[in-house]
Amino acid sequence: MTKSEIEAAVFAALRQIAPEVDPTAIDRELPLRDAAEIDSFDFLNLLIGIQERLGVEIPEADYRRISTLDSLIAYNSVFAANTAPFPPLAYPPAES
């Protein structure tokens, strides 16, 4: 997925929990909870919305890494790319 596709998915998840907030207009470096006035319930639902769209399940231990909109998009850019299945290994390995 491209970064803009990931951004679009995050924006869509954010609009679902805060429909009156324009994700393109909020301060991307402020903590999201302040920038979009979302509480812990909203935040959990945001992560569920992102998981539905990108397949990324963010562990609680990583919450401190995704506190801003920018860091949330960056995190998903790394992990969404890695949810694609690896190509099957040939076994036994082809003889060189």
Binding site: V21, E37, N45, Q51, E60
Partner: protein
């Protein structure tokens, strides 16, 4: 024959507006089915029917404002005979092409200067509901600022604000409040929560609120004087615990849905109950069972960064529990100084129904329970 009446959806509710019917004569209904949407000052409520049967006649039409207790429809129980055939009234002329919207959606549209005619409704039958107005509202330009020197227009109180004003004024007038607070070390509880969430999928994750609510329920078993109502000059303790949860709405205002029968719920059940209440409250889809009278209310403003909550009891309840923000504070224990995540818990009590000693026992029990979260 059963009569379906305008339900009472709050201690101060006098009248409600029938928004729209979700059934028609001849439909079979079962206990718990949602058969209508009723508008109150605070929200549109999905009204459930409490008996099995067949809908006979719809006596109220959308938009009718009726007092609590007014008959809205008749429902024939399965054992009852059908009503005698009445000549059917001529079908009313079709309404002019007016916009179908729930009462709450209409009020929000008026407050936010949103044109209802421009919105496609996503409710049953294309009805415009609150979330449709919310989505449209973000595209509306702000109203023209008043010219300098022009006098400020008076702002009419919204229905919700009025309802809150009435309830809070009544509380302060009637209830002699006492307040207690305590600091709770949440280190063990938060560590337990992190471990619990590590083995749960995202949609089943527990928020701190779930274990706080569970601890409240367990502490109420020790101090039952705080769980119930003050009615006709007497305390009426309740065997069941129906937890009112104060939910802030995104466009402002507060609503108090209720997690019914919270006593036997596990922490996971409590989380699902809380999730249901919050989501229904915020999407304007509360049900009558959500708004039955709570026996105690919990308010949690910690998410907003407020450290301590000294709240106002919602009559006829006799107590309110408040939880502030969990934040790191210096903590002395066994002669050593450390840093712990600390939560300020408060209790507002009705001094007619309990006294400071009861409140102190409650907060002490709450603290002890949160130090052993695996026993919750």
């Amino acid at each position: 024959m059963g009569e379906y009446r305008m339900p009472s959806l709050g201690a101060d509710m006098q009248r409600g507006v029938l928004g729209h019917w979700l059934v028609k004569p001849g439909d079979r209904v079962s206990r718990g089915d949602i058969i209508a949407v009723i508008g109150t000052d605070k929200a549109d409520i999905e009204a459930e029917v409490f008996e099995d049967g067949v809908v006979e006649r719809l006596l109220a039409k959308p938009g009718d404002e009726l007092p609590v207790g007014a008959v809205l429809a008749t429902i024939r129980g399965d054992a009852g005979p059908p009503a005698p055939n009445e000549p059917s009234a001529p079908a009313p002329p079709p309404a002019p092409a007016s916009v179908r919207a729930s009462p709450l959606a209409r009020r929000l549209a008026a407050e936010w200067h949103v044109d209802l005619a421009s919105i496609a409704g996503t409710g049953p039958g294309g009805v415009i509901e609150r979330h449709d107005v919310e989505a449209a509202a973000k595209h509306v330009p702000p109203p023209e600022p008043a010219r300098p020197g022009a006098s400020e227009p008076s702002v009419a109180l919204s229905g919700m604000r009025r309802a809150i004003a009435v309830a809070m004024a009544r509380s302060n007038w009637e209830i002699p409040h006492y307040y207690l607070e305590t600091s709770i070390d949440m280190r063990t509880a938060l560590a337990w929560l992190e471990q619990a969430n590590a083995v749960r999928p995202l949609k089943d994750r527990l928020l701190p609120a779930a274990i706080l609510l569970k601890a409240v329920v367990r502490a109420l078993a020790i101090v039952p004087e705080l769980n119930g109502h003050w009615v006709d000059g007497q305390p009426r303790s309740s065997a069941a615990i129906h937890l009112g949860v104060a939910v802030a709405l995104r466009q402002g205002g507060l609503i108090i849905p209720c997690i019914r029968d919270a006593g036997p719920r596990s922490v996971d059940d409590m989380m699902q109950g809380l999730r249901g209440c919050v989501e229904r409250a915020r999407s304007g889809r509360l049900r009558t069972s959500d708004l039955s009278d709570a026996t105690i209310t919990v308010t949690n403003l910690g998410d907003l960064g407020v450290e301590v909550v000294h709240g106002v009891i919602y009559p006829p309840q006799v107590a309110l529990v408040g939880f502030g923000r969990i934040r790191e504070r210096p903590w002395a224990e066994d002669g050593m100084l450390g840093v712990r995540p600390v939560l300020e818990a408060t209790l507002a009590g009705d001094h007619r129904a309990s006294d400071g000693r009861d409140g102190a026992r409650f907060l002490d029990a709450l603290d002890k329970l949160l130090q052993k979260p695996d026993t919750l």
